[in-house]
């Protein structure tokens, strides 16, 4: 039996946390953002040193001064951001840092790699350049690299956050295969369905504290959520918006570059309009195209009964966007909370180009309070906030100007259950205040529960709009994969 025990008395990030892992086990690590999951895996993988506590591998006390030592001990981590060399081949990526002999030939490298890939049924070729692979395939390259280093413990940090449903299935097959080969997996995910599907046991952390570990058969979804958030969530998906008949937004024959062809839809006042589809279906580009970030054209765009020809910034018309990736597109991470909120609302606090910081402080304080953003002060850098709080900063800065219509793109990606519910509440409230809400998401449960109508995209085209009574995961998946429903 392999046994990792760790104890940290009196530390802020992790307080007397313990964690153990059996051979050939998939152990899910759950917790809201800021619960200490990342800190824990960084300690296991040698990035951080614990202040107190011990790590045991195979009953032997171990200590990793750096990630390289951890890898040598058989602990490999598949990070969310995959650290691969885009210009090198799969084989070269696997061999980088692992070449025993300097004069290994390319063909031999490819041969060895192909063998490894075949052994684990990875559908990639060793000679392919990594830049031609998609996210899921790159993930497999990282896993293969870990395996080539004889990893006995593989840590996967939200491996399913950026891949499609189909690819997730494939990944799970591979994880099951790893189990059979006595390799242990620490699996981190925000998606509870996946945890129930793949994990043998689950450990929950909250606010740096160890809450508990359970066999997956012995725990229900509700119990898990309760452990994670520390309170009952009456409803995972609150819904209290009221639709009126009035049409607030309408677009006809939208084209966005290669991504979106001939898409038309309308949104009613008070309605939450969903857009679903697989990765690469064009669902994200619909928003970026209408917002004017990607080159796009359309036959007609009607907002509140008025026809709009795009000549100015779309924000000026009241078309707002919460972009997909808050770190890359939503926030300036090095700036503080106040400046990030002000950035989109400078006209409110400036005259003749001069910014009133006094007014800015008032506004930022107001917004922080309104959305219950957890900050030590409005001067805190946003990069130090948790995912959920970062997303609330994005929402507050975008919503400050009361848009006519808002496109929310993956608004709950990578944030914890509690913050998700807060986002759903905000969405409902917005709809009731008469803002048109377009909710674009890859997470089917929230689309199904939250939206009044759903447009499903497949390869850049609309497969149709489902009405409330037709909305379920099965129908959406069928349309998303290009199958018509009768």
């Amino acid at each position: 039996m392999r046994n990792i025990v760790k104890e940290f008395p009196g530390v802020l990030a992790l307080n007397k946390v313990r964690f153990d892992l059996y051979e050939g086990e998939v152990h899910a690590l759950l917790g809201e953002n800021g619960a200490g999951k990342s800190t824990l895996i960084k300690i296991i993988s040698g990035v951080y040193k614990p202040d107190f506590g011990e790590i045991y591998i195979n009953g032997r006390k171990s200590f990793f001064a750096n990630p390289t030592e951890a890898i040598q001990e058989g602990v490999a981590t598949i990070h969310q951001e995959l650290n691969l060399f885009e210009e090198l081949t799969v084989a070269e990526n696997i061999f980088v840092g692992n070449i025993k002999k300097f004069n290994i030939s390319k063909s031999k490298m490819i041969k060895i790699t192909d063998q490894l890939l075949k052994e684990f049924n990875f559908p990639i070729k060793a000679s392919e350049k990594v830049k031609y692979l998609n996210t899921s395939e790159k993930q497999l390259v990282s896993i293969a690299k870990a395996l080539s280093l004889n990893a006995k413990i593989i840590i996967m940090d939200e491996p399913t956050a950026t891949i499609t449903e189909h690819e997730t299935k494939r990944l799970f097959e591979i994880i099951k295969d790893l189990k059979r080969k006595k390799i242990s997996v620490i699996f981190i995910s925000h998606r509870l369905e996946e945890v129930f599907e793949i994990a043998d046991r689950v450990t929950v952390l909250r606010d740096g504290n160890y809450i508990g570990t359970s066999e997956i058969e012995n725990i229900s979804r509700e119990e898990l959520i309760k452990m994670m958030v520390g309170r009952e969530i009456e409803e995972m998906y609150p819904k209290f918006n009221k639709i009126s008949g009035e049409e607030i937004f309408k677009i006809e024959n939208l084209e966005v570059g290669e991504y979106v062809k001939d898409v038309s839809f309308d949104v009613k006042k008070g309605e939450i309009f969903g857009i679903a589809g697989l990765v690469g279906s064009g669902k994200l580009e619909i928003a970026l195209g209408i917002y004017g970030y990607l080159p796009s054209k359309w036959k007609q765009l009607i907002l509140n009964g008025k026809k709009i020809t795009p000549s100015r910034n779309m924000l000026d018309y009241g078309i707002a966007l919460v972009p997909e990736d808050r770190k890359k597109m939503g926030l300036v991470l090095e700036m503080d909370v106040m400046r990030n909120i002000i950035l989109q609302n400078t006209d409110e606090v400036s005259r003749f180009g001069k910014i009133s910081w006094k007014k800015s402080k008032i506004i930022a304080t107001e917004e922080v309070k309104k959305y219950a953003i957890k900050v030590s002060s409005i001067k805190q850098k946003v990069k130090t906030l948790s995912g959920g709080n970062q997303q609330k900063v994005v929402l507050s800065k975008v919503l400050r100007k009361r848009p006519e219509i808002i496109f929310l793109v993956e608004p709950t990606r990578g944030i914890d259950v509690g913050a998700k519910v807060e986002v759903y509440n905000i969405v409902n409230k917005l709809a009731n205040e008469g803002v048109g809400v377009v909710f674009i998401s890859s997470e089917l449960p929230e689309i199904v529960s939250l939206c009044d109508r759903v447009l499903v995209m497949h390869r850049g085209r609309s497969m149709g709009i489902l009405n409330k009574n037709k909305i379920n995961q099965e129908n959406i998946l069928k349309l998303a994969t290009g199958v018509d429903i009768k």
């Binding site: 000026d316 300036v332 991470l333 700036m335 180009g353 910014i355």
Partner: protein
């Protein structure tokens, strides 16, 4: 403010600490160093580099770089000089400012609209402007200007040289821009995350053009001062100034990746470079060694910066 607060503030401006440290160091080694006249001398020498570096600060904070400042400096100097020869001081100065601002805007337009890396764009305009300078002067210096013009470089008010006064005036303006205006906020935002700035409704292209225009404009102001001081405009003016400016900005704590940096930091970065020159000269250190000392100081500064 208590000691801890002061210490914390100082940590944000390592260039100030470095400056004070170097001043103390030279004060011990040379008795001619810590005199008012010597300090006025240092400030006068630094003023030209500092003015260019203030413009460079905004460019670097916005995530760009301007390699053309030295050539813009030279071209505005020689064009102004030929107008001055025609008689009008005011017209000459205006022409210099116009040339600087125009060349800067061209940089900005190509960077913003052409979506080409600033390093490449300004490398090219650096070569083009230098070449135009040589063609314009046929490689000969232009000398001999009216005394009212020379006053800009040689005069003083209450014992303070005019170039130093101009430098502090520009410092105040750029400081104000960076801290209290939309332009300042947007500069940091563009450098920190251009996509996010754009999606937040910032007219990124427009502000980039303004930033590069300011850089060109400040190069021209520096050129006016040097031309007035030397009573001569030379086609080789400004060679290597881009590196001095970048060094001052980096010493001041800015990151070439953008989004970080302060004008105060740059001021002290430029002062560190100036005081090193001055102190080493007073100590009779061979000029052959001086570049190496500067290089080492820059490396140390960047290492300290990384620790933070």
């Amino acid at each position: 403010m208590n000691w801890k607060g002061i210490l914390k503030k100082l940590k944000e401006y390592p260039a100030i600490v470095g400056f004070v440290g170097i001043v103390i160091f030279f004060a011990f080694l040379s008795d001619r160093f810590l005199t008012l006249s010597n300090f006025i001398n240092v400030f006068r020498q630094v003023s030209i580099q500092a003015i260019i570096a203030f413009g460079m600060t905004l460019v670097i904070i916005s995530g760009g770089i301007d390699l053309s400042v030295g050539s813009v400096f030279a071209l505005s100097a020689v064009v102004m000089a030929s107008v001055l020869k025609g008689g009008s001081v005011l017209l000459g100065v205006l022409v210099a400012l116009l040339v600087g601002a125009l060349l800067g805007s061209i940089n900005g337009v190509i960077v913003a609209k052409g979506k080409i890396q600033p390093f490449i764009v300004t490398l090219a305009t650096m070569a083009i402007a230098r070449s135009l300078t040589l063609v314009f002067t046929q490689g000969m210096p232009i000398t001999g200007f009216p005394s009212s013009f020379r006053y800009i470089g040689r005069g003083d008010i209450l014992g303070i040289p005019v170039p130093v006064i101009i430098m502090f005036g520009i410092f105040a303006i750029i400081f104000y821009i960076s801290m209290f205006t939309k332009l300042g906020l947007y500069t940091y935002a563009i450098g920190g995350n251009e996509t996010a700035a754009k999606l937040s409704g910032v007219k990124v292209d427009k502000y980039k053009i303004i930033i590069y225009m300011l850089s060109g404009l400040l190069s021209a102001i520096a050129a006016i001062i040097l031309t007035a001081r030397l009573n001569s405009a030379q086609p080789t003016f400004g060679t290597g100034y881009e590196l001095d400016a970048i060094a001052a900005v980096v010493l001041g704590g800015a990151s070439l990746a953008g989004g970080k940096g302060t004008v105060i930091g740059t001021l002290f970065g430029a002062l560190i470079m100036g005081i090193l020159n001055n102190g080493l000269n007073l100590l009779n250190v061979s000029p052959f060694y001086q570049q190496a000392v500067k290089g080492i100081v820059i490396l140390i500064a960047v290492l300290i910066e990384r620790e933070n």
